[in-house]
């Protein structure tokens, strides 16, 4: 009996738990552990999210948009026909302090040079630290874009480009261009622990880094000195919760306030729960079915248009994307500036498609190859299933599609070489600039091994693409991009299948959270009521 009473008390105490009040803490249930805290050396969204609270960049994306706004650079001048950009740096911006490091000076041009050179110059003292792979710097073609980056004084940076390209301003707002503290780097080098730079970050951002326990938790503290939008909570906690069902359970139980990547299957139930709120927007991506214009009869525009009308994309979005997708009518999603909503989408019209094929002189049955993606991608949840649905649709208009695939690396390489007749592929945008999508149909990338899978090269489209890179004014650029969307639609080098829909879930008492079209998560300006 004594034992039972003791057990009863113990169990009651266990389930009652502690619930002491404290400073305002926002808990974000994140999906995984970061590789490190230096965005320049990693490639995953998980790692970028973990470093973002700490760092700033020269330019920034306005929260919740892809619009480029001033960051550590207060303003910039573009000269020399878009080949020289002069950045005027913000003054008096303080770096965070850590237990063993107290900054003695404010942010200046040396920090910018240090951060860019680390990724660019092999003789930089940190070039080889922590593996030294600067994937994004290389993927975004920074080595071939940059001619020189120099300082003219402590608060002025001059960036000279090899060729005019204003889209580089969007590259500079990307995570890999985070500006670290040179003073901290020098301090660690002297101490003999340079790797600490990538594990315990020091930046100028809205939150300062406090502690990280692998696979468990990342803690940040609000940076009251932050120059931009102030953090509204005292502490920010990333509770690392890799299983999506567990994240949902934690959100429901109030153990986290914002939930990364909810499962599409849970969304309906989440929306019904008054304690929760779900927000959704198209992801910065596109899935398409490319027609290789070098392979007859796909060289004929009418044939490509006919095939575009033969596919029931509504069915694909419904059955394969399961509500987490949106039919696409241009390369860019509707959240991106310059999106042209006036484009009339191709209807699903097998009868018309069949008639157009006949009018174009195509003998049916027409034999084609249909390459389907062997792997799941953010924009394509199931390449094979989509391929099968397309195959069935095509059979209805007298086209026999043979399904083909390869191992993913091989698939991409062969498609880029133009070996396919038709192929599924897609793109995930990097910097929110339309150029980062439209280059996919540019003539430069139409060469073998380029990212232009249809190998389509249209003189007017390409001229506009190149011109848009040197115009500083966004409204002017948008006009060119809208014209390019019309040309792309008319010429149909590819059928645009879908953009994925990205949802985010949070407690209803969370205010000020803005979903980023770039798929990132940021917590300045977010509060708990």
């Amino acid at each position: 009996m004594k034992f039972n009473i003791f057990a009863g008390v113990a169990i009651a105490a266990l389930v009652a738990g502690a619930n002491a009040g404290s400073a305002k803490t926002l808990v974000y249930c994140s999906e995984g552990s970061p590789e490190n805290f230096t965005p320049a050396i990693n490639t995953t969204g998980t790692s970028f999210d973990a470093a973002r609270p700490v760092y700033n960049r020269l330019t920034e994306f306005k929260r919740g948009t892809t619009e480029v706004v001033p960051g550590l650079a207060e303003s910039w001048d573009i000269a020399d026909g878009g080949k020289t950009i002069t950045f005027h740096l913000r003054k008096g911006v303080k770096f965070h302090a850590l237990k063993d490091f107290k900054p003695t000076r404010a942010f200046d041009a040396d920090d910018v040079l240090w951060s860019i050179d680390r990724q660019w110059k092999p003789d930089h003292p940190y070039s080889k630290i922590s593996g030294g792979k600067y994937d994004y710097f290389n993927d975004m073609d920074m080595p071939s874009l940059l001619d020189s980056v120099t300082k003219t004084d402590d608060h002025t940076i001059v960036m000279k480009l090899k060729e005019p390209n204003v889209a580089i301003l969007a590259n500079l707002a990307m995570d890999f261009m985070a500006i670290g503290s040179k003073e901290y780097a020098d301090f660690l080098l002297k101490k003999g622990t340079p790797e600490q730079f990538d594990q315990a970050p020091v930046g100028t951002g809205p939150f300062s880094f406090v502690a990280y326990q692998k696979d468990s938790v990342i803690r940040y503290k609000a940076n009251k000195d932050f120059y931009g939008e102030k953090p509204l909570v005292d502490d920010l906690v990333f509770a690392i919760t890799p299983d999506a069902t567990a994240r949902y359970a934690k959100l429901k139980a109030g153990e986290c306030h914002v939930n990364a990547y909810p499962r599409p299957a849970d969304l309906d139930e989440m929306k019904k729960d008054p304690a929760l709120e779900v927000i959704s927007a198209p992801g910065l991506n596109i899935a398409f079915w490319a027609f290789n214009v070098n392979k007859p009869p796909l060289d004929k525009k009418a044939v490509r248009q006919a095939l575009s009308m033969a596919i029931d994309r509504d069915a694909i979005v419904k059955d394969v994307y399961l509500g987490a997708g949106e039919k696409a009518k241009t390369l860019i999603p509707r959240t991106m500036w310059s999106y042209d909503d006036a484009i009339a989408d191709y209807p699903y019209d097998p009868a018309k498609a069949k008639a157009m094929l006949a009018a174009a002189g195509v003998q049916t049955p027409l034999e084609i190859d249909l390459w389907y993606q062997p792997v799941q991608r953010p924009y394509n949840p199931n390449g094979k299933r989509i391929g099968e649905m397309m195959q069935a649709d095509l059979a209805k208009v007298g086209v026999n599609a043979k399904l083909v695939t390869y191992e993913w690396g091989e698939y991409r390489k062969r498609a880029q070489a133009g070996e396919d007749m038709t192929a599924q592929l897609g793109w995930t945008g990097d910097n929110g600039d339309p150029d980062n999508f439209f280059f996919l149909d540019g003539c430069t990338d139409g060469k073998p091994a380029g990212n232009n899978i249809p190998k389509w090269c249209n003189a007017e489209f390409n001229d506009l693409l190149v011109k848009a890179r040197v115009i500083p004014d966004q409204a002017e650029r948008a006009k060119l991009y809208r014209r390019m969307q019309e040309i792309e639609h008319e010429e149909a080098p590819e059928l645009l299948l879908a953009h994925s829909i990205v949802s985010e879930a949070m407690r209803a008492n969370v205010t000020g959270y803005k979903q980023s079209p770039l798929g990132t998560h940021a917590f300045e300006g977010v509060d708990i009521k």
């Binding site: 738990g17 619930n19 696979d215 803690r219 906690v237 890799p242 567990a246 359970a249 995930t428 990212n451």
Partner: protein
Amino acid sequence: MLGYFLRRLALTIPTFLALMFLTFIAIRLVPGDPVEVRVGEHGISPERLAFFRHELGLDQPVWRQFLDYVWKLLHGDFGVSLATQQKVLTEFLTLFPATLELSAFAMLFAIVVGVPAGAIAAVKRGSVFDQALMTISLFGYSMPIFWWGLLLIMFVSVRLGLLPVSGRIDLINYYFDQPTGFMTVDALLSDQPGAFLDALRHLVLPAIVLGTVPLGVVARMTRSSMLEVLGEDYVRTARAKGLSPARVIGVHALRNALLPVVTVIGLSVSGLMAGAVLTETIFSWPGVGKWLIESIGRRDYPALQGGVLLVSAVVIFVNLVVDLIYGAIDPRISHGR
């Protein structure tokens, strides 16, 4: 005794060699190498691909890579994780206390519940309790861990709100240094009121989930072993001497019946490690299981090879210890007499 120990120790060497070879080969049979899995739609230039492969030694023949790996291991170098650039041994040592703590509590749960339940079932053989226990333990033994974990979370944590959903401590209310890596110990050392209790609350569900399979095994083993012992002459003698039933069962019968149970507990350790992979994923438990799963996805060869080897070393070590304990409890076995 020493001879026995050395013989057992020598037997672990071929096991280790086989493990080294198998983990090395198995991860390389999975398509995609550590460089390729980093590449998305951008692709990678052949020069950069060749450069990174060379840096990681992946351009060497496989036999050469294996010899390099073994050579480094012999020098105590488990390599550096490709994903985090941290030493594999450091990562393992950071995460292992969490797995050990969870496994220990799971085993404690299995023993504390399983042994008395099995003993009672044996004593009341054929009763409703016995039959119910045997049915439940069969369910426990065959329970899919993932499903069971989610079910408990949904019911106990979300529906009833009795226990936390996942993690090791309430992240909002408690924050302290973790010198030992064992949350319960660190919570006690932290001087933060309520922290220890909170750490225990976080342990309840994962320990039950991970302990369910061993619980089924321990309960059934205790029952059958107990049944055998209860029929022995010395038990009848003890009863005939007029000893109280509690003494007969508790001292004379149960103690002897526990011998095979000890072996089963030792064998369950490998099962606990396998179960930890799933349990840690469901309960966001920062242990080695979850780390290994992620390493497979990233084709992080050094982390995976080193991690599997270190986990195996633990399992082999525990089995060795169990063998020795067994030998100590029953001198007949140890020493080949």
